[in-house]
Symmetry: C2
């Protein structure tokens, strides 16, 4: 069992309840990373489902849970022949923190009838950039769990040269050697710096709603995360992340609606 598998463990208590222990190693300066929290929730739901894979997940982030004990309450809305529908609520100190709707099914890996090609936008890994470890006082413990190599223009904002458009791109893998799986993908779709930083935004950019679809089981190796946005307006922005695996297949698609930070 890897550290990530352990950090996302969900222990069945009864028909509708799983105990979880939220790991302080996934903090983004206080709050825990939304992708990590989704992975925890999905552990419970997949355990409860007769199907193997979370093909669609929507999470509404009501509050920002902290490290420590929590529960996932799962409710089977419908179990069909080829897919199941669940509602899941992450609860801490008696208060709902994250509300999710999840569809599970079993992907077979059959050859696609139609597949877009991977965008030829990422330079090779060797030309992408690792960032220095954040200072301990930042509380950014998440970074230590993942290895990322950033497409240089998309981190220009770090040195005062934002690209001017909402975008964020990087290669991604777990720091502890682990082949990517659907739970790692839940982490991956929310692992990039907010795309709005490249458009000049700053500060805490809380996700309000994140929906992602698992499209195929990822091959071992680096994942490519391609993040973009279409509109920053009225205090809101969209962030869309496509995850492509090392075999050039689209394995996950996400879109989140988030708040522009005030910082």
């Amino acid at each position: 069992m890897t550290k990530f598998d352990e950090a996302t463990q969900a222990i069945r208590v009864d028909d509708q309840t799983y105990d979880v222990c939220l790991d302080p190693g996934y903090s983004i300066g206080g709050p825990l990373n939304g992708g990590y929290l989704m992975a925890v929730i999905l552990r419970a739901v997949v355990d409860d489902s007769p199907f193997e894979h979370p093909v669609s997940t929507t999470s509404q982030f009501l509050k920002a849970p902290v490290a420590g004990e929590a529960r996932v309450r799962v409710e089977r809305l419908k179990v069909g022949r080829t897919a199941a529908f669940h509602r899941a609520t992450l609860i801490q100190n008696g208060a709902p923190q994250i509300e999710s709707l999840i569809t599970t099914a079993t992907l077979t890996g059959a050859d696609p009838i139609y597949a877009d090609k991977a965008p030829e936008i990422m330079p090779p890994v060797a030309q992408c950039i690792a960032l220095p470890a954040p200072k301990p006082e930042s509380g950014m413990t998440l970074n230590a769990q993942m290895e990322m190599r950033f497409d240089p223009p998309t981190i220009g904002w770090l040195s005062g040269a934002p690209s001017g458009r909402p975008e964020s791109r990087a290669y991604f893998r777990m720091a502890e050697p682990q082949d990517p799986d659907p739970f790692v993908l839940a982490l991956a779709v929310d692992a990039l710096p907010p795309v709005v930083f490249s458009a000049g935004g700053r500060g805490w950019a809380p996700t309000v709603d994140l929906t992602w679809h698992l499209r195929a089981l990822p091959a071992p190796g680096w994942l490519s995360l391609i993040g973009s946005g279409r509109l920053v307006a009225d205090g809101w922005f969209d962030e869309e992340v496509e995850v492509w695996d090392s075999a050039g297949r689209l394995v996950a698609q996400s879109r989140q609606l988030a708040r522009v930070g005030r910082g």
Copy 2:
């Protein structure tokens, strides 16, 4: 009150319950259109919210409700300073049909900080094509509620010449004169023929999960619906629809995960 406003009316019964009457005029050959059903659900949620606009909606389609009486059960998950979170369930004959998570807020129409330009892919309205009314025996009553003008290559599949990629594009407005509003947009994001038809797919392509974001209040006039997909595999396909208004602004973004039909 327009016919659409009337068909989507939700009458408050108590704190958590709205009575609705599902209109037979929104049938797609038996089942009712998912966008119409979302509009009905959103009427109830917006009525219950202190905020005016449904900025994020996710619906899981558990069953296919039929025309007639139904209820929307709403539950306030959190009411914050600038946004509220609701769960809403459409119930018919005592059985949950559609489960939704909705975020409401109030959009002000402030000038965007960043806005992508509308894709220059649609020919002018005059070069797009209206389709003949469906035969009464098809049960496709939805078409009579909307006017659509299709981008010709994307309906090539109708005459045996699919474009070979998942795509579907059209201009859209209500048949009865009505300026577009967020409820009309809920209808619009699910109004195109499934994008998979252009990739050679056929038959009933049921939506499993649809998430859409309201990004701005639409200007009067035609809406442009730009639909596409990335992957058709393992019996599933994604359909993404962008809705641009007559002023060239992105007003809605959706993505659905749906089943490839068998027929």
